[in-house]
Symmetry: C2
Subunit: 389 residues, 2 copies
């Protein structure tokens, strides 16, 4: 285990603008975003040693500061954002205070864990497969992955450009929505409202490995709570193309990450963690034809899910197969997240359920593309319904 | 007038891999792409002065070197890629040897001009509005803007992330296709082939200001030559949504560029050229709602153009309103390019026609999304048809 922040942290906290919606709040950002004057390491000691301080803030950092937030540090993440091993091979991984002895998940481990520990009210991560929703689920905090490309990635170290999505962590749904509105200028806040009862599709049989028993129980509890609170709840099944799209995600991530990290792979190969090096070696073989075909599959899946969701507001599914896994061998599986990242849909991790051992079990609310406010409203509705069950 | 390369150039030519499809060829890249050990200036002296050398190559630079190309320099471009004035306000603009006394167009001015001058066989630029196809047209060289996101932008200084597209310049269509295949690994070469006669839609009445007399004559010549060579040529009219999409382009570019350049605007405002500063001040007012609406319009236009092109291979239109404009007040208009950049369609500038004064007039071949090889084949067909007329 390690602390929450990377060893090559910023030298001193950075003050935000004196006024703004986030004035007085502090936040932490994943070691993926440039902060002027500080080096961006991407979770790699070899890489950070070769860097010079960034000469500008990432667009997101600039917005945080303009909105009044102070930045107190850069959080530990999986090496180059690849969740292929457990603890960060070099730095270790921050403790998950909500699930003692277990990892917080990855790759945005430090950001999720810092919020769960109450160190910061807001933290920024990123999701390329499941790196926001999964750790939020494991840590029992709210996580929000907005519609793809709705928050700029300028100044963010690239992992896979057609998947990388800025994501946020906060204690609850209303908090994360508040931060998202402050960051984007879009109407996303849900505090002070009583959300209308949403139409919810429950995805009980996804075309990928099933959740554990405790997670299935949690999903039933979530569905039952929502129905009891007045939501229209019905089963939903994914169109067939989604099984192909699930595989397409891996093809796209491999093709893009190998190119995004080509220089690192060429010049720092011997100093990368074993699992990351192996993953990049595997990624090398994806052909442009396979990639282009995967992108076409992704487009078809996007259309099919849009059609599927014409008459429902959100889909609910597990955020992860279960609670944070035991031991330090793995940061857990992103199987429940990849499809939604691929099609770009907004996702919210709703906290509030625990298994018999008291470990958090996250429920994922998936909204319609571009309908982030509706997704957050439905997530708040569900969060309240669960709390009152 | 200036030279072709930025004053803060690379220190020495960089050798490519000893073998590869581009071995023995030299190329130049726009001052927008990172080259490890060199500073990226984006055409701004104030910005370059604050930079440190890049610590990795842009993905595209890495690919060029891996494919065997040597890199001899970074080319001058419009300040921060904004074609809002004529010559670069600080460095001046390279000479257009094909149109003496006139500018080469922008923003990829140095790259287009260097190829036109025969200094390099291949140069890399970028297009966010019309910054590849327009200068290629003005300089009488081939320009290729591939399908959006088909060449990685990792390590490229961002202007507007949903529009920025890597583009290439070379002497003729076969040359630019050869370079594109070497760069991407996709089957894009057209040399050594006799392209089948394409189905061509001629866009005579676009929903934006019309071309000059000489350009209209050039378009007729292109259509007539293609028909004489066996192509099926018919008039085509754009769906109504395209007029809105044309305006949406400006909204999207403004919204994104203001955010991508927020740090520069905050910290270097007084040292930006007057026109760029004014443009960014104007860009500041675009709301997220206007932006999101513009993105929805773009998606609808993309679908409408895809439907329109179901039975044709390419559309031909002017690459610019006419020949390179006189004087140094303007790098010319991108009105004929913005829609295609917005929807992400592949575009090729076909050289070979000149007006009565001997100035190049470029014809733009617009292909179907993701059908870049077909677009290049049709462009080669047209280039040969024009040459044999």
């Amino acid at each position: 285990m390690s602390g929450f922040f990377v060893p090559h942290n910023i030298e001193a906290p950075i003050a935000g603008a004196p006024e703004g919606p986030l004035a007085g709040l502090t936040c932490a950002v994943k070691d993926m975003y440039d902060i002027a004057g500080s080096r961006t390491g991407g979770g790699s000691p070899a890489w950070i040693a070769a860097q010079t301080p960034a000469t500008k803030h990432a667009a997101l950092v600039q917005r945080l500061l303009d909105a009044g937030a102070g930045i107190i540090g850069k959080t530990i993440c999986d090496e180059f954002f690849y969740s292929v091993s457990g603890a960060n091979a070099h730095y270790g991984t921050p403790p998950n205070l909500r699930a003692p002895g277990r990892l917080p998940g990855g790759s945005s481990s430090g950001s999720a864990a810092a919020v769960a520990a109450g160190m910061v009210p807001i933290a920024v991560g990123s999701q390329t497969a499941g790196s926001v929703i999964r750790p939020a689920g494991y840590c029992g905090v709210a996580g929000f992955k907005p519609t793809f490309a709705s928050i700029p990635t300028v100044g963010m170290k690239t992992f896979a450009w057609s998947l990388d999505t800025v994501g946020l962590f906060a204690a609850g749904v209303a908090d994360v929505a508040f931060a998202a509105e402050a960051l984007t200028g879009r109407r996303l806040r849900v505090d002070g409202t009583t959300p209308a009862a949403p139409r919810i599709g429950v995805l009980r049989r996804p075309p990928w490995p099933e959740a554990g028993e405790d997670m299935l129980t949690a999903l039933e509890l979530a569905a039952r709570s929502a129905a009891a609170a007045g939501a229209a709840v019905a089963d939903v099944e994914l169109p067939e193309i989604c099984a192909d799209a699930f595989k397409a995600h891996g093809t796209i991530q491999d093709f893009e990450s190998y190119r995004a990290l080509a220089y690192e792979y060429d010049h720092f190969r011997d100093r990368l963690g074993h699992n990351l090096r192996t993953a990049l070696e595997g990624a090398k073989v994806v052909t442009p034809e396979a990639y282009d075909s995967a992108q076409r599959t992704a487009r078809r899946a996007r259309e099919a899910v849009t059609t599927l969701m014409a008459d429902i507001d959100v889909i609910i599914t597990p955020s992860a197969p279960g609670a944070a896994p035991e031991g330090i061998a793995s940061t857990g599986s992103s199987v429940f997240n990849r499809l939604w990242t691929l099609i770009g849909a907004p996702c919210v991790n709703v906290p509030g359920i625990a298994n018999d051992d008291g470990l958090p079990l996250g429920i994922q609310v998936v909204g319609r593309l571009g309908r982030d406010h509706e997704a957050l409203l439905a997530a708040l509705f569900l969060e309240r319904a669960i709390a009152s069950t």
